[in-house]
Structure formats: C-alpha cells, structure tokens
Amino acid sequence: MVIKLIGYAQSLPTRRVILTLNELGLSYELEAVTEIHTIKTDDFLANKHAFGKIPVLCDGDFKINESRAICRYLVSKYQKDAKIVLIPDDINKVSLIEQYISYELSYFDPPLTKILLQEVFNKRRGEPIDEAIVKQAREEIEKVLDVYEKILVGKDYLNGEYSLADLFHFPCAHYVCTDTQQGDIFDTRPNVKRWLDNLRNRDAYKKTYAE
C-alpha cells in the first residue's frame, strides 16, 4: 500500500517529510492542500490533525502527524531496508542527534521563522515588512550561528556523520537563503556554509527541491 502524504510541497514541515521519504527511497502520493480552510473543517480536525495542520501521513491504516514525529516514524520503520542511516543504533549517538533536533526547535528555527514571516509571507500578502523585527531576528540568528560554527569545527555534520538532525535544519535555512535578503548569514561562516552545501548536494535534496 502506498504512503499518502497530505501537505503542501513548499511548506517547510512538508519539505522535511519529503526529504526523509526521498532519503529512504520511499514512494508516496502527495495529496496537495492549497487552501487553508480545507484543513480546519470538522472532518479534518476529527480524522487527520486535531490542531488543523499539515503534514499528515497515512501509511496503510496508520495515521501520524507533526513533521518531526512523521520523519522519526519513517526512519524507525523503513531505515533497515534503505541504504542510508538517518538514526544510528547506538543510544549515545541517537541521543545527541535528539539534542541537535532540540537545538533546531529551540534556537535555530524561531529567529529564521521571524525573518521568513516578514520577508516572504508578509510580502506575499502585500503587507509591509517590519524592519525592526527583521533586524532583531537577524541579530538573534547570528549569535546562534556563531554557536553552530563552533559545533561544526572539524565536522561535516552536526553529530559527525549525516543524520536526521541535519535534515531537519535544512528546509528553514534553505528558504532563508533562496527567498530573503538575509542569506549571507550562512555564507559568512565557513563551517556552516560547508554544512549546508554538503546537504544541498545530496541526491535526495536535489530531487526534493527540483519537484
């Protein structure tokens, strides 16, 4: 039975899942959601996502939502049949990967999301960009990236070897590079730049972003 992914291909959480599906070599059907109101209906809330969000993944009868939970599930179930290791077996390594995933959630994503909200989403809606917010968010992410620059000394990936933690960071970072004026924050830090370039060059990433 085919995996069904309900989402919007350009949405960052959906991208996270598509990257994982592509890394694991899994085929899937994307049921595209293009209008917000369709995910706020009583039926969607009752049967797909209790908070009215995407993505939602259906694997046969099994249904799961929240992008990072979906990705962990896919890895747990299908990694053994794939040629890639996104979550290793060793408990200590896994736990450090979870730590980096928490850094992504706690420190990396929030300021980047503020920038995206202003320079991409407000712009799209024809609303003015609040430069003060962009400035503050930029200062915040610069401090965070200084930490990442140290974490990545002598390493190509956050935990040494490529893992799910690196994958989770990519969609937000890449979007800021391609669609905002703030992409230079990544380029001016050699370890961070090397990390993102390595990710960009992976087959699964090229495939995901070509679609």
């Binding site: 009752a46 209790a50 908070f51 099994f62 799961i64 939502n65 929240e66 990072r68 939970a69 979906i70 962990r72 599930y73 747990s76 179930k77 408990i91 200590n92 896994v94 736990s95 450090l96 979870e98 730590q99 995933i101 928490s102 850094y103 959630l105 706690s106 420190y107 965070v144 930490v147 140290k150 974490i151």
Partner: protein, 220 residues
C-alpha cells in the same frame, strides 16, 4: 557511576528530567548552578551547554542537554531496568504516536503555558518585573483552546496514547506550576482533562517531585 543533573529543580525543564529519573527509578545528584548568570560563563558554554541553558545531564562521561532529548536518552537506556515503567513503547506505531503527542506539547501546549509560568512564578521573584495582565490573559485564552483539543484527544483514554508515556510526562512540570498559580479552571472545567491531570498528580514520581518544588518556593 552516578548520574549528575545540572539545573535548578524549580526550573521546569530541569523538573521534567527529575520526574523522568524518578519514574525510571534512577538515582542522581542534582547540582544547582551558582546563579542564572553563571550559565553564560565561558566555562559553562564550552563544557556544559553551548547556548548557556539548563538542564545538562552527565551519565559518566556522556553529556547531553535539552530536557526532552535527555528524557529520551534516559528512557532508551534505562526503561524497564529498575522497574516496569515504559516511557517510549517498543512498537514502532505506538512510539510514532508518542512522538506525535510530544510534538503537540512542544508546538501548541508549551508556548502559552511557558508564558504563564514566567509571568506567574518567575517574573517578579527572579527578574523583578511585574506580571503583565495582557500577556496572562492572552496566554490563558490560547491554552484554553489547546485544552479543548486535549479534551477530545483524551476521550475514552486514561493517557494521551492510551497507556502512560513520555508524552504525558513532558507536560507535567509546567502544568503543575500553572495549575497552582490561579489557572486551575483550565484543567478542572474539562472532565477528561481533569481526570487525566488528577491521574498524573497521583503518580509517585510527580508527587515526590512536586513536594520538592513546594519546599523550594516556600524557602525562597
């Protein structure tokens, strides 16, 4: 070798790890930092947490940070060893749903809850700032909508994923604070949520952990 936990028991991410350690029957030593400011010292940042936060856990030489990652580590390594409490199920589908509920806590439950924790418990006492009634009102309303969803999620269930799991544990410390800070109606006005919270409060690990916190607040 003993597990060392660096943090203040009053800080609710640290309390999350304390509850987890107690649930799993693990002995540990709590090392409170000298002060909040000491978390930003070069030494702390280089050797404990690169973002200057707590908690930090040392298990022998192994160091790990971020409370939910620490809990996952402890569960993976020790669950079932000292007692039969299972925080992360073995079954891949059950584990997936536990992850999903942990994500709900992070994405929807914690944001308004943490605002209320800060405003009601920490703002005046630790940072000498008056609580902001607008922020409290807005966070209370946001959390009310989230708990309406939890009311449905808990229909016919004792815990979020049926059986007790890490998904329930992660929201205990913050909930305890906000419940006791004048917002108990949020949980008490919803029957499924009320029963669930009551069940959680009756767990030994929570009882012990909340007792420890009570004496902290009475003495500081």
């Amino acid at each position: 070798m003993t597990i060392r936990l660096i943090g203040y028991s009053a800080s609710y991410p640290t309390l999350r790890v304390i509850i987890c350690l107690k649930e799993l029957g693990l002995p540990y030593e709590l090392e409170p930092p000298a002060s909040y400011q000491s978390l930003k010292d070069e030494d702390f940042i280089a050797n404990k947490h690169p973002f200057g936060k707590m908690p930090v856990l040392f298990d022998g030489d192994f160091r790990i940070t971020e409370s939910r990652a620490i809990c996952r580590y402890l569960a993976s390594k020790y669950q079932g060893k000292h007692n039969d409490i299972i925080l992360i199920p073995k079954d891949v589908h059950k584990a997936g749903l536990v992850d999903q509920f942990i994500s709900y806590e992070l994405s929807y439950y914690d944001p308004p809850l943490s605002k209320l924790v800060y405003q009601e418990k920490f703002a005046k006492k630790f940072f000498n700032k008056d609580p902001d009634p607008e922020i409290i009102k807005q966070a209370h309303e946001e959390l009310a909508k989230v708990l309406d969803v939890y009311e449905k999620l808990l229909e016919g269930k004792e815990y979020l994923n049926g059986e007790y799991s890490l998904a329930d544990l992660v929201l205990c410390p913050g909930t305890n604070y906000v419940y006791g800070a004048g917002h108990s109606d949020l949980w008490d006005n919803r029957p499924n949520v009320k029963n669930w919270w009551s069940r959680l409060c009756n767990r030994d690990a929570n009882k012990k952990s909340f007792e420890e916190i009570k004496s902290f607040w009475e003495n500081n």
